[in-house]
């Protein structure tokens, strides 16, 4: 998947785990937690969804890479480079 497709995957995950949030103006450079209600259990949902969807195992020491949309996409790009994008 290309970075833009990965961004959409993460956006779709956020929409499922935070269904009350308006994500249309999400700023990729600002921490998720600073622009939406997202606690540690929600954050683990992001990790879990990626694990379920793409068998991506993200070790706890790498969680710091999932702070913003930009950092998340950057971190996932090499891990998902050989994965087909969702239909």
């Amino acid at each position: 998947m290309a970075p833009e497709q990965i961004r959409q995957v993460v956006l779709d995950i956020l929409a499922r785990i935070a269904p009350d949030e308006d994500l249309s103006d999400l700023d990729d450079a600002i921490a998720f937690r600073d622009q939406m209600e997202l606690d540690s259990m929600d954050f683990l949902d992001i990790v879990m969804e990626l694990r379920k969807m793409y068998r991506v195992q993200i070790p706890e020491e790498d969680y710091e890479n999932l702070v913003t949309m930009a950092s998340t996409v950057s971190y996932l790009t090499p891990l998902l480079k050989d994965v087909d994008s969702p239909a």
């Binding site: 935070a18 269904p19 009350d20 209600e37 259990m41 879990m48 379920k52 195992q57």
Partner: protein, 416 residues
């Protein structure tokens, strides 16, 4: 006990919130009970053909965000809905209530089966890889979950717990609240019972294996307590929660008073895992009457527990016959015939659906009673059509459960 202490120990119902297969408010539930409307429908469950169930249709988003619904449990949503409805109905100035003096006490038949089954189903899609088992599983399945979700919703910082009491749980929740008020542990109790049981296949499959799961071509006729044509239990979901207060507190704030809990009792059969015992049941009823200072002749309506299993119906009716043999005019009715067995919520819903009788004097019916089982030794059952009584001052509510747990509550029309 001094007169002042006795006065302060009087516990009254001041607010009601409920959801049931035939109504998400007391007004709607009562209207459908008097109209004879069943809430039993066909229902899809996993791994087995469609079953019959009582399904609720309340709006969970009335008091929860979508994220809270997703994160919590169905029992939690039911509890949050009912508790908020009760608190609103009671007319509290909630922001100024001392919420560290509020307790939440909810009866449950079971909790966690739904969530565990869901997770096993989910990891089954991944070859039973436990690394995709949800981190939400534990907070969803801790036994206090439904009561805990109420505290989160209402900002209650006093005690909360669930009371595991099988199908006696609805009454048990009220009794726990009453006792905590009398002990001075809290100044207001949010008490009742909830159930999400229809969302696990296991409860249906287990009753099916026990030859105790109801079936009928017409779902509305499936639940038939006391009737020779009964085929077993219809499982339902639901919840019913009251705000309970000490009488002086309720009067001081000018609260509406639905009724006073004047008698209660719980005991155990100590005889069998599933089969009930008429002797212990009648003892439980008599203990509640004694504590209330009442005789059987003082009771106007008996809300029966009968689930439409042969032995359950016969044991309870025999217990009632023993206690009420000299009271031919008592009206015995049954709510499960309308909505099925709402498990942990059953006793609470069944009691509350009868409470408006204090005002309208009507005993709602037991529907689907076409051929009274000759082994049911009762002449006082209100069959199929509501019965207008001269007046209703006392309602006795039976609620019994597996492992031989019995509970009885007596509510009296409020009088000074």
């Amino acid at each position: 006990m001094t007169n002042a202490e006795m006065y302060n120990s009087r516990i009254v119902i001041t607010g009601v919130g409920l959801t049931s297969p035939i109504g998400d408010s007391l007004t709607d539930l009562r209207g459908n009970l008097l109209a004879g409307k069943s809430g039993v429908t066909e229902f899809e469950t996993r791994y087995m053909p469609p079953v019959l169930a009582g399904v609720c249709h309340f709006d969970a988003l009335k008091y929860q965000k979508r994220k809270e619904v997703r994160r919590g449990t169905r029992a939690g949503s039911i509890a949050v809905y009912c508790a908020n409805e009760a608190v609103n109905d009671a007319g509290f100035d909630w922001e100024n209530v001392a919420r560290d003096r509020v307790g939440v006490y909810l009866g449950i038949t079971e909790h966690g089966n739904v969530e565990t089954e869901n997770e096993i189903y989910e990891i089954g899609k991944f070859g039973y890889d436990t690394s995709v088992w949800s981190h939400h599983h534990n907070p969803r399945t801790v036994a206090n979950n439904p009561a805990g979700e109420v505290t989160l919703s209402l900002g209650v910082t006093g005690p909360h717990l669930t009371v595991g009491a099988a199908c006696a749980a609805g009454n048990a929740g009220f009794i726990q609240g009453l006792q905590m008020l009398r002990l001075g542990e809290v100044d207001m109790a949010i008490a009742g019972g909830v159930s999400e049981s229809i969302h696990t296949f296991g409860i249906f499959a287990s009753f099916k294996s026990q030859n105790a799961l109801a079936h009928h071509d017409d779902p509305t006729k499936a639940c038939r307590p006391f009737d020779t044509g009964r085929t077993g239990i219809v499982v339902a979901e639901g919840g019913a929660i009251c705000t309970l207060e000490r009488l002086p507190d309720a009067l001081a704030r000018g609260a509406k008073i639905y009724g006073e809990i004047v008698g209660h009792a719980m005991n155990s059969d100590a005889t069998d895992f599933v089969l009930p015992d008429r002797n212990r049941q009648s003892q439980c009823i008599e203990l509640a009457l004694k504590r209330a200072g009442l005789t059987p002749q003082d009771i106007d309506i008996v809300s029966s527990h009968a689930t439409a299993t042969e032995q359950g119906d016969i044991e309870e009716s025999s217990a009632l016959a023993a206690v009420f043999k000299d009271h031919p005019n008592v009206a015995i009715n049954n709510t499960k015939s309308f909505i099925g067995h709402a498990m942990g919520a059953a006793g609470a819903i069944e009691l509350l659906g009868n409470i408006p009788a204090f005002d309208d004097g009507i005993a709602h019916a037991t529907i689907n009673l076409d051929h009274l089982d000759p082994n049911v030794p009762l002449t006082q059952i209100v069959a199929n059509e509501p019965r207008q009584l001269d007046s209703v001052d006392c309602i006795l509510n039976n609620s019994f459960g597996m492992l031989g747990i019995n509970s009885v509550l007596i509510v009296k029309k409020y009088q000074d």
